[in-house]
């Protein structure tokens, strides 16, 4: 008995002395700790308002917050039973799935193709230019997309010249087409930059593998198919986990900036819906509930996909 408590005090002394020793490390961490507490954990705590009937005005904010009437899951039920739920989920999933379908393979293909090009100015130039759209804001990207797709824009001009269409197409006034435009513009914007991760994976492949394949008479395509692509698998799996986890993150900026009155039925994804009701119409509790639904489902999705991937592939984020 004596021995155990002796060890314990030694250990706690040890802890205290280590804390004292590391005091400056904790001082360094303090600003980030506070910023995260306020701006990340603060809103999580604020999710309480999704279960109340928060009404702005009269008295201080915190008073209103704590004295709002508790209504349980009423706002969630309201969201699920209005017709809005179906439409918003349809738009969110349609946009997400199309974005995945175009956006996920594109950087893989670009990385493979870049890897096959000869080292030189042309390759570096293509790479530099392909990063560019990632670094501009969606405001600028939306300006570019709208200009490009206008009825007198460059794309319509090309299509008419080639005889693919007779009349210019009103791309941005066509509801279902809106999802495709979001997906393709997303691909345009992020393809080059996402390829960096895959190029890094390719760079770490042992060159002896290629030599051996060449001796066996494998063509360039076969080398790519049987060596390069399988070597990228870990990276592909990790990024796939992240992508599936973010399936409800259909985006906000793209839709918000590209939409117009004729496509509202198709452009309203879950984030825009929460913003519209929560901030524009001041239904704060409802907006918080819709946002919470999204966060919780997304979090569960990440956990599930992560677990599956660990079982099947022996690879996981955490």
């Amino acid at each position: 008995m004596h021995k155990v408590s002796a060890i314990k005090t030694v250990r706690s002394n040890n802890l205290i002395s280590r804390l004292k020793e590391q005091k400056w490390l904790f001082v360094l961490m303090l600003p980030a700790f506070i910023a995260t507490l306020l701006f990340s954990y603060g809103p999580m705590f604020g999710l309480y308002m999704a279960f109340t009937n928060y009404q702005p005005g009269g008295g201080s904010f915190l008073y209103q917050f704590f004295h709002a009437e508790f209504v349980g899951f009423q706002w969630f039920e309201y969201f699920f039973t209005t017709g809005d739920f179906y439409r918003v989920m349809r738009n969110t999933l349609a946009t997400s799935l199309l974005t995945l379908f175009f956006g996920f393979p594109a950087p893989i293909i670009l990385a493979l193709v870049l890897n096959e090009a000869r080292q030189g100015f042309f390759k570096r130039f293509v790479q530099t230019v392909s990063y560019l759209p990632h670094f501009i804001s969606w405001v600028i990207a939306a300006n570019i997309v709208i200009t490009l797709l206008a009825s007198d824009g460059m794309l319509n001009n090309i299509l008419v010249l080639l005889g693919i269409v007779k009349e210019p197409v009103a791309f941005l006034q066509n509801g279902p087409l809106f999802w495709w435009i979001i997906a393709l513009s997303n691909m345009w914007k992020e393809m080059g930059f996402s390829a960096i991760m895959y190029l890094a994976a390719i760079a770490s492949i042992n060159p002896e593998l290629y030599e051996a394949a060449r001796v066996d008479g494998a063509s360039r395509f076969k080398q790519m198919w049987h060596i390069t692509l399988p070597s990228m698998r870990p990276t592909i799996v990790i990024l796939a986990i992240l992508a599936v986890g973010g399936i409800l993150n259909a985006g906000f900026e793209q839709q918000y900036l590209l939409q117009n009155n004729t496509v509202l039925e198709y452009s309203e994804v879950i984030d825009i819906y929460a913003y519209k009701y929560g901030l524009q119409n001041s239904m704060f509790s409802y907006g918080a509930a819709v946002g919470m639904f999204k966060s919780v489902v997304a979090f569960i999705l990440v956990l599930i996909v992560n677990r599956i991937s660990r079982k099947v592939n022996d690879q996981a984020l955490f």
């Binding site: 980030a32 701006f39 917050f65 530099t128 405001v139 570019i144 080059g192 913003y275 990440v302």
Partner: protein, 296 residues
């Protein structure tokens, strides 16, 4: 083997075809905007200006230089970029160093505390409420404080620090340096390449941000360049839907004919600084991204 060589040649043609396609698809839209911004407004309305200006003029850029709303937006954007980016780099680095130390008390717990925020968030409305409770709505601080921390960038810096040789630190400790001195005098200077990377990312983030200005500020002198651009874009978007007369009323301040080319010129003004900066820092951020990818 001969068959292989033939196949390889076709393969090569396909490879270069795809690369040229990627090049054109990414480059041409930007070029088109530039050309339109350099074409006179009256001529642009007639359509058909794509790859080369038909009536070259700097009119729209001159108009922008006279537009107080755009100029003020530019000033707010420059201010938030110059203040926000260095501050957040400092905060992120100050966190990354303790977390890179294997002997830090509660290291696992701290990591969990920060990394959890990457996967779960309170969402927009509660975030707005926090800003409101902190009296940050409609102040400049709303641009700076919420974006101080970024867990993903912290992981990049931490990974880099973990690979630094520890002997230098140890010898400094023997010489009596404390953790603060070691951090500011030794670790931070050694980390410069990665700090440049995340500094660039944060600076571009600030330069591009519009939503905080759009949704959390009301006064016109707090509108960033991108938020002003959103306003011009909205006018244009609804302009296409409603009647010509309403459009004229909407853009009474800006000449209706030229509003289109003003939009192009403003887009170019917001794009050019990025185009000029990022190619020089490219090799840093590629390295930084790959570093982060290894561990996260």
């Amino acid at each position: 083997m001969i068959l292989n060589r033939f196949g390889d040649r076709i393969f090569k043609i396909i490879v270069y075809f795809i690369l040229i396609l990627v090049l054109l698809v990414t480059f041409l839209p930007f070029w088109n905007i530039l050309v339109l911004s350099l074409n006179s407004a009256e001529d642009t309305v007639r359509g058909g200006v794509y790859l080369w200006p038909r009536d070259l003029t700097l009119d729209s850029y001159q108009q922008i230089l006279k537009d107080s709303e755009i100029l003020n937006g530019l000033w707010v954007t420059v201010k938030r970029t110059l203040i926000g980016a260095p501050l957040s780099v400092l905060v992120i680095t100050m966190l990354a160093y303790p977390l890179s130390r294997r002997n830090l008390v509660g290291r696992k717990g701290w990591n969990l505390y920060f990394i959890f925020t990457m996967y779960f968030s309170g969402g927009l409305i509660p975030f707005y409420m926090v800003l409101k409770a902190l009296n940050m709505i409609d102040t400049f601080s709303v641009f700076i404080l919420p974006s101080l921390m970024n867990v993903f960038y912290m992981i990049i810096v931490r990974t880099f620090m973990e690979q630094l040789p520890h002997e230098i630190e140890e010898s400094a400790r023997v010489d009596g340096a404390n953790d603060l001195t070691i951090f500011f005098r030794i670790v931070m200077p050694l980390t410069t390449p990665v700090l440049a990377t995340i500094g660039l990312f944060q600076a571009i983030g600030h330069w591009n941000a519009w939503f905080d200005s759009y949704a959390f500020t009301y006064s016109s002198d707090l509108k960033t360049l991108q938020a002003v651009l959103v306003k011009i874009l909205n006018q244009f978007q609804t302009g296409g839907m409603i009647s010509q007369s309403q459009m004229l009323a909407n853009s009474a301040k800006r000449n209706a004919v030229s509003s289109d080319t003003i939009r192009m010129a403003a887009t170019m003004v917001a794009t050019l600084p990025i185009v000029m900066v990022y190619p020089f820092l490219q090799k840093y951020f590629v390295k930084g991204m790959t570093l982060g990818a290894v561990k996260s």
